[in-house]
Symmetry: C2
C-alpha cells in the first residue's frame, strides 16, 4: 500500500492507473477506522475497482466551533494497518494545509435538504462536508465512491451535490454496520463510558420499534416522531438532540408518510458523545 | 462539428477522445459570439488541444432579478457558423432544464474576492458563475479552459475556485480583444446606440490614461481611482457604476499600489448597456 500526503503525489500515482482504463474506487474517511469503513473498502474491491483509494482527513470545515474537532479520535498507525488488511492500494492522508492552504476561499453548499436533522443542529456542517468531498473527488477522480448509510443525510447531500454539479463519480451507499446490540459502529463510540455504551443501545432499539409501528400501519408522522422521542428519552443517560420523520432522499417534513421511502432519524447525546442513527422504511402505494 | 444539447451525449462523444489520451480544450461562452470568443477558440487549438469544445449557455444563475437575462442577445445559428469556422469540434448548447433540473440545490461560492467590483454591484453573480463553471468543467472534463481577461474578476474567481476545489483543469487567460477605438468587444455592445457606441470609447481611453499616470509614478490608489472616475464622468452619456484600484489577482483594496500587479477596473452604463473593462499594471519593487 502506498501512502500519500500530497495531492500531486496521489495524482501522479493515479494518472497511469486512469490512463490504463483501470477503475478507481474511493472511500473517504475521517480515520479511526471501524468495521463500517472496512465494509466500504471491501465493497469497493468486490464492486470491481482495480485500484482502491482511501483517504483519512479530519476535516476542520465540517466541525462547529464548539464541536469535537480537536478531540476527534485519531490513530493513523492502526488505520494504516487496517487499510492494508482491507486491500487498500493507495491511502491519502493530507495535512490540513494541503487541503486548505492560505487564501482558500471556495465553498460548496447544498440548500434545502440541509435545513433539517444534523443540518439544523450543526450549522455549516454539510457545507464543510460538501466542500471537502468535491475536493477529494477532484483529487482522486474515482469512478465510484463509497459512503455508509449511518450518515443518511450526508449520503443525501453528497448524492444531490454529485448530480447537481455533474461530478463524474458514481456514489454507492452501504448499509450501516452494527454492534451485536444494534448500536451503529462509529468512531465517536470511543467517547462512551461503559454505562453510556450500554445505554446507547436505546437508539437502534427505538428506531426498530418505530419501524415496527410503520409496519403495523402507523402513517402519522407526528406520532412516529413521538415514538422516537419517547423511546430515546426513556433512557436516563440519553439527551435527545432530534428525532425526525422525513421523506427519503429529499428530506421533506411530512404529515403522513408514504407512499415511498421515509427516513426515521435520531441524534442523541450520551455523555459528550453525539450519536446519530436511522432506519429507512418503505411504504408501498396503499 | 458536432452539436450536443444533452450532457450524456457530450460525455459519450468525449469519452473515447479522453480514453485515447487526446487533449481537450474548452471555451465556455454565453453565445452571441464575437472576436473575443473566437480568439479563445483559436487559442485552444493553437495551444495543442486535439479536441476543442465550446459551450453556449446563457446562465440564468448569474443574472440578478433586474438584469438582462431575458434580453441578453442570442443568435444560435450564426454562433454555430462561427464555431465551425473557428475549428470547434464539439459545441454544447444545453437547455436550462438540462443544467438546472427540478430539485437543483447546489451552489459554489468564492468569498472575499467577490465582495468588490462586479461582485458588489451584482450580488450573487459570481456564485452563479462559479456554479455553472464547475458544472461545465465536470461535464466537458477539459485539460485546459480558456477565459478572456475583459472579465478580470471572473478570471480571478475561476482561478481561485479551480485551485481551491482541486479541479483538474488548467485555466488559461487571453488578453481582451478590442475595437479600433479601444472599446473591449462584448456581446452587450449590441445594446449601444451609435452615439453611445462612440461615447463608450471613453472607458478604455480612461483606463489607458490612468495606466499612464501609474507609469509616470502615481502610486496613490485614491488618486488613481479619482482619475478613473473623472475620466468616465467626463463623458455625458456615461453613468459610472464603479471605478476601483485593487491588487491582482487577490482584489484587495489598496492605499498605495505596488510592488506587484494592480487591476484598474471600471464598470459604466451607456444607456441600458452595462460595460466593464480593465487594465492590469505591474509596478516593480521601488
Amino acid at each position: 500500500m502506498e501512502v500519500f500526503e500530497r495531492t500531486a503525489d496521489l495524482r501522479g500515482y493515479l494518472a497511469p492507473v486512469r490512463a490504463q482504463g483501470r477503475r478507481i474506487g474511493f472511500v473517504p474517511t475521517m480515520g479511526f477506522l471501524h468495521a463500517g469503513h472496512l465494509a466500504l473498502m471491501r465493497a469497493a474491491r468486490s464492486d470491481g475497482a482495480d485500484c482502491v483509494v482511501a483517504s483519512i482527513f479530519v476535516n476542520p470545515l465540517q466541525f462547529g466551533p464548539r464541536e469535537d474537532y480537536r478531540d476527534y479520535p485519531r490513530d493513523l498507525d492502526k488505520d494504516k494497518e487496517l487499510c492494508m488488511q482491507a486491500g487498500v492500494d493507495a491511502l491519502f492522508v493530507p495535512p490540513v494545509e494541503e487541503m486548505y492552504p492560505r487564501g482558500f476561499a471556495t465553498h460548496v453548499e447544498v440548500t434545502g435538504i440541509t435545513d433539517v436533522l444534523c443540518g439544523r443542529s450543526r450549522p455549516g456542517h454539510f457545507k464543510g462536508v460538501a466542500t471537502v468531498v468535491v475536493k477529494l473527488f477532484n483529487i482522486a477522480r474515482p469512478d465510484c465512491a463509497y459512503f455508509g448509510l449511518k450518515d443518511a443525510q450526508q449520503v443525501a447531500v453528497i448524492q444531490r451535490m454529485t448530480e447537481d454539479l455533474n461530478l463524474p463519480v458514481e456514489v454507492k451507499v452501504h448499509p450501516t454496520v452494527r454492534e451485536k446490540d444494534g448500536l451503529a459502529v462509529s468512531s465517536r463510540n470511543i467517547y462512551l463510558s461503559p454505562q453510556e455504551r450500554q445505554a446507547a443501545a436505546v437508539v437502534y432499539r427505538t428506531l426498530e420499534r418505530t419501524a415496527e409501528a410503520v409496519k403495523k400501519g402507523e402513517r402519522h408522522a407526528e406520532r412516529l416522531k413521538k415514538l422516537l422521542e419517547d423511546g430515546i428519552r426513556s433512557e436516563q443517560l440519553s439527551r435527545l438532540d432530534y428525532a425526525e420523520v422525513v421523506s427519503w432522499p429529499d428530506l421533506r417534513l411530512l404529515a403522513q408518510i408514504g407512499p415511498g421511502r421515509t427516513l426515521l432519524a435520531v441524534a442523541a447525546y450520551f455523555g459528550t458523545a453525539r450519536l446519530i442513527d436511522n432506519i429507512i422504511v418503505d411504504v408501498g402505494v396503499e
